[in-house]
């Protein structure tokens, strides 16, 4: 291994460009070069400037970006280059590797029959030996308002046992609407930030929004087409949360709500969740709350707990109350004990 350390008299190597004879262009060449690059970027990705402005929180910077972004967006939108650029570079998108964490318009699988992998089978379900249990260090509990106060009860149960429980509810959000929170992106951010070994997801109370189909049509709730789009989004999130098989996900279905209109949505949501997690049954556990809280998908306010009839639902007929959440936390931790010790 040769050692070619610089001589002491020029240890900052300030003259390296002189010595190599590299300073032979003009200042105007530098400007021309950068302006050409900027112009090409505007043609291909002009709308990115406006998006950056919209994501900036107030101030002069936001105003400048929006002012620059309006004409650049207009230019990019009137040219076919953006689509061509996206097609040329889409294979590099990191979310593809995370299973489409950011919601893209769901499309059909590429040609051929998708392969079924071993991840689709729970070893216990087919009588095989399960993998050894691991110690649980970090648990993420997330979802919409349904995940509250479940998250508190899980923290109460697991914090004393040395598990770091991260409570990350996003009230008023839904998978079918990206207006407030894009759950595809949020899932990626949560995993990136917290690297949880286990994730509990309880969401769906606010869903039922129409979503775009692959051909751009808006699909209203709650037919099979809507459920398929919803399932694709759930699958993308589940794939992100499972972290290539390193983590376990516990996805809780919605207990049947009181209102008939909401029941229709809950049925579609639950059906979509069941289909979505099938490829990774070994890593994404479905916790079906319907038989527990609303057997036969029939709504009920109260149920027997430890021999006593106990109210388990909130007055809104959607959420679980303290008693219901406490019971659910017990069920979830019981299921987690198959995979972890704590």
């Amino acid at each position: 291994m040769p050692s070619d350390t610089p001589p002491r008299d020029d240890d900052s190597l300030m003259n390296r460009f002189e010595r190599s004879g590299m300073r032979r262009a003009r200042g105007r060449d530098a400007v021309l070069c950068i302006l050409v690059a900027a112009a090409i970027l505007v043609l291909f990705e002009g709308s990115a400037v406006r998006r950056a402005g919209e994501e900036t929180s107030g101030g002069v910077g936001r105003s400048v970006l929006l002012a620059v972004g309006r004409p650049t967006t207009w230019i990019a939108d009137h040219l076919p280059l953006h689509k061509a650029g996206t097609n040329a570079t889409s294979w590099l998108e990191p979310e593809q590797n995370l299973g489409g964490g950011a919601f893209a318009t769901p499309g059909t699988a590429a040609g051929g029959v998708p392969a079924v992998t071993a991840d689709a089978f729970e070893p216990e379900a087919i009588g095989a030996k399960p993998p050894p249990r691991r110690r649980l260090h970090t648990l993420l509990v997330t979802g919409d308002s349904m995940s509250m106060p479940l998250d508190d009860y899980l923290a109460q149960r697991l914090d004393p046992k040395g598990v770091h429980v991260i409570e990350d509810p996003h009230i008023g959000t839904g998978i079918s609407s990206t207006l407030i929170v894009n759950w595809g992106k949020l899932a990626v951010a949560q995993v990136r930030e917290d690297h949880p070994e286990a994730v509990v997801v309880f969401i769906g109370a606010n869903d039922g929004y129409s979503m775009p189909a692959p051909d751009g049509r808006e699909v209203s709730c709650c037919d099979a087409e809507w459920a398929a789009i919803y399932a694709n989004r759930v699958r993308a999130m589940a794939n992100t949360y499972r972290q290539a098989g390193r983590a376990r996900v516990y996805w809780i279905t919605l207990p049947t709500p009181r209102e008939p209109a909401r029941q229709e949505i809950a049925r579609a949501v639950n059906a979509a969740i069941e289909v979505a997690v099938q490829p990774w049954a070994d890593q994404v556990r479905l916790i079906n709350s319907v038989p527990v809280f609303t057997p036969g998908a029939v709504y009920r306010d109260a149920m027997p707990i430890d021999g006593t009839e106990t109210i388990v639902r909130e007055a809104d007929g959607v959420h679980l109350n303290e008693a219901g959440s406490s019971l659910l936390a017990k069920i979830v931790t019981g299921r987690m004990e198959h995979d972890f010790y704590f």
């Binding site: 050409v36 690059a37 951010a189 990136r192």
Partner: protein
């Protein structure tokens, strides 16, 4: 504002065009560049600009007083006061919470726990870099190596946006002469500048962020969850990541300065090619190494006071180098490890004969080991990480892409020639339009790999 971002992509072409338009008139160019640099810094936090302005004013005042001081003693006192002020600023903003926390913990253990004024102080980005540059200025003025600059020149030097946030640490005597006269508009290294910007983007966004995302961050977050093969790969992965992250930033900074007509000192020279710790520090973060050598190691006595004094000076220098990187025991331990490596190398000099490749292999793996201390969020995590190094289990993170990324980073540094210089020489002969097209294509491809949350901050932004 980070270099690989949309706001900077809007900011830089405007600044570059105006800069060259005003270059012939320094009376207009300097205020413009000062304002542009403060706008750049304000994007990180407008209030931080007050700190930067305060450091600028105080050090310029000190430099003027030092240059006018009669007598060596008075000059030394003024230099010492200015350096102490800079270190106080650094201490308050960077180390206050660390030291108060440690003090509270110690008092608590002794049963003397008392409520201490634990304030939450935001760390201004780049504070470690611009305070070091201010120190280099007043010390060089005190040593009569540099004449005091005008207030405007010094302010431009300290705030010049390409090096403001994360270096390289440009010495006053390297930059102020370039401000003395307008840059020659016919001697600009455009090809080198563009190639460095493109290379920096590729290093940071494609390699460093990718390795962090799929390998390093998950493993260092919960090393308990991974077995030996993955732990080992994560150690090599971080070795590649931190080089690409930091040298990528430096490449972009040097490239941007070149397009503006300015030259910065070199900061990296194939560091993983080093055959010893001394050699490593001549190749890794070279501007920090020079700063520590000239403003800490040599003033402490360097190697002039005999063997033991040299060892002491090396250890002090590297312990403080560790602490400079962050207020945490992991960084202190990292600095101590490098200090011990330098001491051992000094002590064994000439006593051990080994082929160059053996020296390289040993040095490289000691450096990899030291990065584990550097990256771990706590000593506990570092301990767990090391304890899992030989834990049997599957290699779940070994993928061709990860292996290729790590191998490319290391092998390219071992080549007998520097591929970058060859690329720069080729690009220097290209037409500017072609260079612009090439840069745009690189940005489009690099941009496609950015995840939805955007480009993660550079590792050295924290320092």
């Amino acid at each position: 504002m980070v270099f690989p971002s949309i706001p900077f992509a809007v900011f830089f072409p405007i600044v570059l065009a105006i800069s060259w338009a005003l270059m012939a008139r320094p009376i207009a160019w300097k205020p413009f560049m000062l304002a542009a640099s403060y706008v750049f810094y304000a994007a990180a936090g407008p209030t931080f600009c007050l700190l930067l302005a305060g450091v600028t004013l105080a050090n310029q005042l000190a430099a003027v007083l030092i240059s006018r001081a009669e007598g060596e003693r008075r000059r030394r006192i003024l230099v010492g006061s200015a350096v102490a002020l800079d270190l106080f600023v650094l201490g308050v903003f960077k180390y206050y919470s660390f030291f108060v926390g440690q003090l509270a913990s110690t008092l608590g253990h002794l049963g003397l726990g008392a409520p201490l004024p634990l304030l939450t102080i935001a760390l201004p980005v780049g504070v470690s870099f611009f305070t070091f540059q201010a120190i280099s200025y007043v010390v060089d003025v005190g040593r009569r190596v540099t004449e005091p600059a005008s207030m405007l020149d010094f302010a431009v030097y300290l705030s010049f946006f390409p090096h403001l946030i994360a270096g390289p640490i440009v010495r006053a005597r390297e930059f102020l002469p370039q401000l003395a006269s307008p840059r020659d508009p016919n001697r600009v290294a455009v090809g080198s500048g563009v190639s460095l910007i493109a290379l920096g983007l590729i290093k940071k966004v494609i390699i460093a962020d990718y390795l962090a995302r799929v390998l390093v961050d998950p493993v260092f977050a919960v090393p308990q969850a991974y077995s030996g093969p993955d732990i080992l790969l994560a150690a090599y992965g971080y070795t590649a990541e931190i080089y690409c992250d930091f040298s990528g930033y430096t490449d972009m900074a040097i490239g941007l300065a070149l397009l503006l007509g300015y030259v910065f000192p070199q900061n990296f020279r194939s560091p993983y090619r080093a055959t010893g710790f001394r050699d490593f520090w001549r190749r890794w973060h070279m501007t920090l190494s020079r700063f520590l050598r000239d403003f800490l190691f040599i003033p402490l006595g360097g190697s002039r006071g005999g063997r033991l004094a040299t060892y002491r000076n090396l250890m002090i220098t590297m312990l403080l180098a560790g602490l400079w990187h962050g207020a945490a025991w992991t960084f202190v331990l990292w600095g101590a490890f490098h200090g011990a490596g330098l001491v051992a190398e000094h002590a064994l000099k000439g006593r051990i004969r080994a082929p160059a490749w053996v020296k390289w292999l040993v040095t490289f793996h000691l450096i990899v080991f030291s990065w584990i201390l550097f990256r771990a969020s706590s000593l506990t995590i570092a301990g767990v990480f090391l304890s899992r190094l030989f834990a049997p289990g599957p290699a779940t993170l070994w993928s061709p892409a990860v292996l290729a990324a790590i191998a490319v980073v290391i092998i390219l540094q071992l080549l007998p020639f520097e591929p970058l210089q060859w690329i720069q020489a080729r690009m220097e002969g290209m037409r500017p339009v072609l260079l612009g097209v090439g840069l745009a294509v690189v940005i489009l491809f690099v941009g496609a790999t950015v995840p939805s949350e955007g480009v993660p901050p550079f590792i050295y932004f924290r320092f």
